[in-house]
């Protein structure tokens, strides 16, 4: 039984994003692995190290240069990669992506499939769950803890208000992990060297056949209906102007105020 991590290549979060057409201007962006997915990869590696998986496999769907994220997974210690090659524009539909990933996962003898809770770019937050639904696997989202107990997977799920749900899943299972579930390792130099010899299987996907899930229409900056008044001037002037506004707006006094 193997541990499979589903990973996505996304634009660097520190890029200056500009909406263009139905998406962003992609002409001068750097790309890297989705931050949430680093935690999924770490969780997969930890399962193998604890003896709960024979092999770790990372799977991604994306254009040719998305192979870079598989390379970074291999450098972290993942054993092999599967690259489902498709146009970046086809990633718009989470159902198309999930179906392709599910097809790939079904041939990987997966015991546990790890996904990030969401992608930083599209933020659909459901590809892991769709894969589980399509394959009939168990599913838990927002995982902040993973333990094996007598052949079942115990998952801690983060609920609102700091509460934690403890759920037990039959295998095979898909788990969508929260950031903070672990501390993702960095690739060592040795890991990077070793990754060059690790195999990556490449599969060309057929384009979406129509039907499917979602289509992008527009992308825009949020309207700032109740937008902040930006205080002008030097930092000193802005700080001085802020204090009376805080006092009046919040209707409170501060500890240093004269009685």
């Amino acid at each position: 039984m193997n541990a499979v991590a589903l990973v996505k290549q996304v634009p660097d979060r520190n890029s200056a994003f500009r909406p263009a057409g139905d998406w962003i201007d992609e002409s001068s962006l750097g790309y890297g692995i989705n931050d949430y997915d680093r935690y999924a990869v770490e969780a997969a590696l930890a399962l193998k190290e604890a003896g709960h998986a024979a092999e770790t496999v990372a799977v991604t769907a994306g254009p040719a240069d998305a192979g870079q994220v598989l390379r970074s997974c291999l450098a972290m210690g993942v054993d092999r990669g599967v690259h489902l090659i498709t146009d970046r524009a086809h990633l718009a539909d989470p159902f198309f992506v999930a179906r392709a990933l599910a097809d790939a996962v079904s041939g990987l003898d997966a015991g546990v499939v790890l996904a990030g809770l969401l992608a930083e770019d599209s933020g659909h937050g459901q590809v892991g769950g769709l894969v589980a639904g399509l394959l009939g696997f168990s599913f838990a989202s927002a995982a902040t803890g993973l333990h094996f107990r007598e052949g079942r997977l115990e998952v801690h799920r983060e609920l609102e208000g700091g509460r934690i749900a403890v759920v037990e899943l039959r295998l095979p299972a898909v788990v969508a992990v929260q950031t903070g579930i672990n501390t993702p390792r960095y690739a060592s130099l040795r890991g990077i060297m070793a990754s060059r010899r690790k195999p990556v299987e490449r599969v060309e996907l057929s384009p979406p056949a129509g039907g499917g899930g979602l289509r992008r229409l527009t992308l825009s900056r949020p309207e700032r209906g109740a937008s902040a008044e930006i205080l002008p001037g030097s930092p000193e002037e802005a700080a001085a102007a802020l204090v009376p506004r805080m006092r009046a707006g919040a209707g409170i006094t501060f500890p240093g105020d004269a009685a």
Binding site: E160, V166, G212, A250, I252
Partner: protein, 323 residues
């Protein structure tokens, strides 16, 4: 043309959750009136839900009943929702955009051969489909997507609509659960309440929240000093608690505390939607951030665009000098 919309109602200790009342209002507008709204409530035994029909203002309340549904699970709830969708003929299924919706929506959508529109703040019919307004890029952008076929599935952000007032359901149907306990692949073992942290964020009049943009835990002292000068407490964004700079109990947002202080000061917090839902009930919001496009400025009353490490000590000094 009248449309039928199904929502998932969730029970709370006193009735149904606030999120359920928001979904009822959202669904009522989408369906063109409350009579077009069906609400599904998975229950172990229908008698548990006796009082709820008086406070659940839907066209019909569908109680999906069976021992497998006594405790909520992802696959059990998904099976109940799918069963109720078929029974009601609903063309759209609405779930809360919260840990329940994250679990259930993709399982429901996969069975319907589609994807869910998630983090949705508005929905409208278009032809044989729906157009959803949703949040993308961690709240930085608003996206419109089309779900070209029906039935469609969506998860709705908290606070997108006001809560509907409690009222009676027009009719009630009890449906036997399509799944038995042996059919489920997941089991709820327990729900652990939040650890009793020392600080009650929710009771504070002033919250000064620290964000990733501060750069590192060594820079938190300036946030603590500002909090002290304002008579408030320190909170944090998820990125800060994930990184271990501050304990998880101090996290504000959809998976942490929801606060509504008189004064909220966001220090180097970009304002991902997951953070905003935890603080948008605040009376007066101040944002300090170097990125003028940060979404936090859309949720703030007053902002200073600048390096938080430089600006925060100046604000602290200005507060002290003004006393």
């Amino acid at each position: 043309m009248s449309r039928r919309v199904l929502i998932l109602a969730e029970r709370s200790e006193t009735g149904i959750t606030d999120a359920s009342y928001e979904l009822l209002e959202f669904a009522s507008r989408l369906a063109g009136g409350p009579e077009g709204v069906s609400a599904v409530l998975p229950v172990g035994d229908a008698s548990e839900a006796e009082g709820l029909r008086e406070v659940l203002p839907a066209g019909e309340l569908l109680l999906v009943e069976g021992p497998a549904l006594a405790a909520p699970t992802a696959d059990g709830t998904a099976a109940a929702v799918l069963h109720a969708r078929e029974a009601s003929g609903a063309e759209c299924v609405l779930l809360p955009h919260d840990p329940t919706g994250w679990d259930v929506a993709p399982l429901v959508a996969a069975r319907l051969g589609t994807a869910a529109a998630t983090a949705v703040s508005a929905l409208s019919w278009r032809g044989d489909g729906l157009v959803a307004r949703r949040s993308a890029f961690l709240g930085k952008f608003v996206q419109e997507v089309e779900a070209p076929g029906l039935p469609a599935v969506a998860t709705v952000e908290r606070g997108a609509f006001p809560a509907r007032e409690p009222g009676p359901a027009l009719s009630v149907r009890i449906l036997p659960s399509p799944v038995g306990p042996g059919d489920l692949r997941s089991r709820l073992v327990e729900v652990r309440e939040a650890g009793a942290g020392g600080v009650d964020l929710t009771a504070a009049d002033v919250v000064v929240a620290a964000g990733r943009g501060l750069g590192g835990p060594e820079n938190l002292d300036i946030v603590r000093e500002l909090a002290a000068a304002l008579g408030g407490v320190v909170g944090a964004s998820r990125a800060v608690t994930d990184a271990g700079w501050l304990p998880h109990e101090l996290q504000i947002g959809s998976s942490g505390a929801t606060v509504s202080p008189k004064l909220y000061v966001a220090c180097a917090i970009s304002g991902a939607i997951q953070h905003l839902v935890g603080m948008r009930g605040s009376r007066f919001v101040v944002a300090i951030n170097k990125d003028p496009d940060a979404p936090i400025f859309g949720a703030a009353d007053v902002g200073i665009v600048g390096d938080a490490l430089e600006v925060i000590p100046l604000v602290t000094k200005a507060v002290r000098d003004s006393g």
